[in-house]
Symmetry: C2
């Protein structure tokens, strides 16, 4: 019983951890062209989809803590890709909006997904298998992620 559990977890959790880093590495050459990191890319994905959101909106979508998001956004602001400003309705909230430069980056990033699939093609998983993998991970994400914030987590 305990042995079975032990085997299960040793085999599962490490691959998630390792694959996550390998995927980030796969993105790197494409993101280097834009001068941004993978977490910065994720934050921009959120903003490209819906501009003018709060720090907390981004934090929840990416399942990150404030102390990770705040410095990340400051770097994006220093790069001139976003602007941060206090909300006038609620002065605790900080609104994040894309600059023209940040918006312009979207079209330059448009080819990344396509090229990334090329990098991942050596895995020889079929599209169906990838979809199934994503479906299972989404279920884990929803149940584990909702323990911290019951909000919608979708990046789709």
């Amino acid at each position: 019983m305990a042995t079975e559990h032990l085997k299960l977890e040793n085999q599962l959790c490490f691959p998630v951890y390792a694959v996550s880093r390998l995927i980030t590495r796969a993105y790197q050459p494409f993101l280097d062209e834009l001068g941004i990191t993978y977490p910065q890319y994720l934050a921009l994905l959120v903003l490209w989809e819906k501009d003018n959101v709060t720090v907390n909106d981004i934090r929840q979508k990416l399942v990150l803590n404030t102390n990770t998001v705040t410095p990340l956004l400051k770097r994006l602001e220093t790069m001139g890709l976003i602007r941060r400003s206090k909300s006038t309705q609620d002065e605790r909230k900080v609104l994040v909006e894309l600059t023209p430069e940040g918006r312009a980056l979207e079209s330059r990033a448009a080819t990344i997904p396509e090229r990334l699939v090329g990098s991942l093609s050596t895995t020889d998983l079929s599209v169906d298998e990838w979809m199934d993998l994503k479906a299972k991970l989404d279920r884990v994400l929803t149940s584990l992620g909702s323990q911290q914030n019951p909000t919608d987590l979708g990046l789709d």
Copy 2:
């Protein structure tokens, strides 16, 4: 076509990244009891399975770079859990061995997998689904990981 790719990758890569961090968070309360971090736990897993290996052995098993492993091992050494010493055969190599304290930690860690499964039980994935998830991730890990080192990656 390009749109299909875009949807596929936006939906897949982020869940891997988020789930990886959520799993690390799930380990944290158990690892806190031992005073170690998740990457340190992984390094110890390698050593508990096979003692007296080189830095490179650990680096390859964990799919990490030297500049991550070296400081990590130094911290484990400072904690008194391992010892590092130059190989006499090849003085470039550094051999890593468990101290009695490091070896004693294994039995204290023995209940972690079981308890972790409890933390993950809210995901309501069946054992078969977990196994399938792991199988797919292992295929990704093998093909992506082998681009950097053709060695065996198994932690099992």
